[in-house]
């Protein structure tokens, strides 16, 4: 069966740390970093990268479009 694996890239300088992406992630991939960006916001990062399926839910709710989503199909 084909399996899907995904990954996100967060533009850390664009992210405003609103955390809207966290509840919409079905796999609980995203957390907030303890570090801050130049504006002083904690930014989102993949805390659980193994679980990401690249569903783009986080991307579509991100008001600042700081998240790019990548997805590959694995044929095992």
């Amino acid at each position: 069966m084909a399996k899907v694996k995904g990954a996100i890239v967060v533009d850390t300088e664009t992210c405003k740390g609103c955390e809207v992406c966290i509840p919409v992630c079905p796999e609980n991939v995203i957390s907030m970093s303890s570090k801050v960006n130049r504006k002083g916001y904690h930014y989102a990062y993949m805390s659980n990268p193994e679980a990401c399926t690249g569903c783009t839910n986080c991307g579509i709710v991100c008001p600042d479009r700081a998240i790019s989503v990548y997805r590959v199909k694995l044929t095992a």
Partner: protein, 261 residues
């Protein structure tokens, strides 16, 4: 497979549209305006009409929309965006014209322009972001502020006896014959954002078919004005805004649908 093997240009499935500029959005963190801007631009990009689209920015939080949207934009006096859009669409009937307005702009100072543009059935799209408050000026009471809701000019809560009931603008204009499509959407979760994107797409397709006015209301949060975190504001919106402003299509293809009250 390692994460770095996945992050390659050929595997990219979602990124910011090129019709949004690189300017950092001036909105507060978590504000629905950013999502609404991006969804609008993604629709215009996907329909391939960027060269033929003219946007009209309002006064309010989204006054700088022309800085963020990488298409032809103009900016109207407070509330007058539908009047300006009327002029543009009549002078260039082949162009796609849309206005992007907030509730203070569209439902307070611009009520006359909105209602008459809707009544005339101008071939434009109106995107109405309703957050029940004047966000830009410091959280004053707007016509759409809910009953009992505390704002900086109604510190004891909105008193419906004195101040009137909140206006359901979409229901109001949907009774006018010129309106072809009226819908109310939201952008706070992925499901709602995808639905809202479809609604905006339908609105621009109506313009292509010269059907008349399409009105898309987006119920949004104002976490700074409501003094909550973005996720709390979204929950508050689901519990308090949606019962009064029910989501869904109100008028489709010129025919009214029965609205759940």
């Amino acid at each position: 497979m390692e994460v770095l093997d996945i992050i390659k240009p050929e595997n990219q499935v979602f990124c910011k549209t090129k019709l949004m500029t690189d300017t950092s959005l001036s909105y507060c963190p978590g504000c629905g305006h950013g999502t609404a801007h991006n969804l609008t631009m993604e629709v215009i990009d996907e329909l391939g009409i960027a060269e033929n689209t003219i946007g009209v920015a309002p006064v309010g939080c989204s006054v700088l929309a022309y800085d963020f949207m990488n298409i032809d934009m103009t900016q109207a006096a407070h509330g007058r965006a539908p009047a300006l859009a009327t002029a543009i669409s009549r002078l260039w009937p082949e162009k796609y014209v849309f206005t992007y307005q907030g509730d203070g702009d569209l439902a307070a100072i611009g009520t006359a322009e909105t209602i008459h543009a809707c009544n005339r059935g101008e071939n434009i799209v109106i995107i109405f972001v309703n957050n029940g408050i004047y966000g830009m000026t410091g959280g004053q009471m707007a016509p759409t502020t809910l009953s009992g809701m505390k704002t900086s000019t109604s510190p004891y809560g909105r008193d419906v006896e004195k101040m009137g009931a909140p206006i359901r603008m979409t229901e109001l204009i949907s009774n006018l014959p010129g309106v072809y499509y009226a819908t109310r959407q939201s952008v706070h979760t992925h499901k709602h954002a995808r639905k809202a994107k479809k609604a905006i797409q339908k609105a621009f397709e109506n313009t292509r078919l010269n059907k008349g006015l399409s009105f898309v209301e987006i119920v949004s949060n104002c976490n700074s004005g409501w003094k909550m975190t973005p996720n709390d504001a979204n929950h508050w919106m689901e519990e308090n805004m949606f019962p009064y402003f029910p989501l869904g299509d109100i008028k489709v293809d010129g025919k009214l649908k029965s609205v759940a009250q």
